[in-house]
Symmetry: C2
Subunit: 152 residues, 2 copies
DNA sequence: ATAAATCTGGATATGTGATGTCCAGGATTC
DNA sequence: GAATCCTGGACATCACATATCCAGATTTAT
């Protein structure tokens, strides 16, 4: 059992969420987002659909359609995005099944790993898209406007 | 790119470390450890060798040989074991390479992820084999002695 | 109405890395 | 010298992230 903490798809999804936050209420087609990041459109689509199912993003079909951020940036945590894309995988589960009788208590290793996993999630849940936006503006105040111009 | 992950090998390595702590100064052959957990011996060997290279475990060849824990349990953190088995992988690296000039500052997403990863590692570094031992004894005071008897 | 743009969701291919196996060599004990 | 056990590399296998494709549905624009 490999406990995967994060896939590349999360990184893309986060960048796109930030892009959509900057794009405001102008829908951005998946193809444009993909081109902006130099990503394969067909795969990015999957991440966007996952974000849609999680209620983070909304889509409108047809010409002038595309994706919109469906919640205020300060209400979308990084954990929300990770959960949407990588799934809300069960945390570390110790696979040990010793033949020493019924396990009444949880394996100590399992508990320790779950604690570390929780610390990781807590950190991700403590930061939102608005925080990322603030970080970017601090380093490069023009980035949001530039991105918006490129995407809309 | 899968960023941070944990392999099944870590779980096995941790169990074996605890087993060796209980076995005291009696060497335990890899084959016996594997049988005790119902694991493929040839693969467990790899984890044990990794632990050896990290200085967590020591081995003696020949009859009556096997593996020994090479450090006091309270000096071996879970992070040590994870690093030994899964490698000290570089933390999350944002792969984004936009064509908008040289990146002087680190990507905001990268920073946020690194922070979460650090929280995870810190939690693992805060717990040692001795802590696990204490947890197990609290739940089942006989477990260490039982395991020791089975392995030596 | 018709055409164009865009999303939806499933089927499927590809590639990487974890998992698992095997073997020839060397060290140690008896 | 024989048996036990570790070492390290080469190799096979398998799961899953990554990537692609396509037939349908939905909306906008003319």
């Amino acid at each position: 059992m490999v406990v995967v903490k994060m896939t590349e798809g999360v990184e893309w999804a986060l960048h796109c969420c930030l892009d959509l936050a900057w794009a405001g209420d102008t829908p951005v087609p998946a193809a444009r987002l993909a081109a902006h990041h130099g990503l394969p459109p067909a795969y990015l689509t999957k991440q966007l659909q996952a974000l849609g199912r999680a209620g983070i993003v909304r889509s409108t079909p047809g010409p002038r359609g595309g994706y919109l951020l469906d919640r205020p940036p300060h209400t979308v945590t990084l954990m929300d995005v990770v959960a949407a894309v990588d799934g809300t995988d069960p945390a570390f589960r110790c696979t040990e099944i010793r033949a020493d009788g019924p396990h009444t208590t949880r394996c100590a290793i399992d508990t320790a790993m779950a604690r570390a996993d929780l610390a990781w999630r807590r950190e991700l849940a403590a930061r939102t898209l608005a925080d990322l936006d603030a970080d970017v503006r601090r380093a490069d105040p023009d980035a949001p406007a530039t991105t918006r111009a490129r995407l809309t």
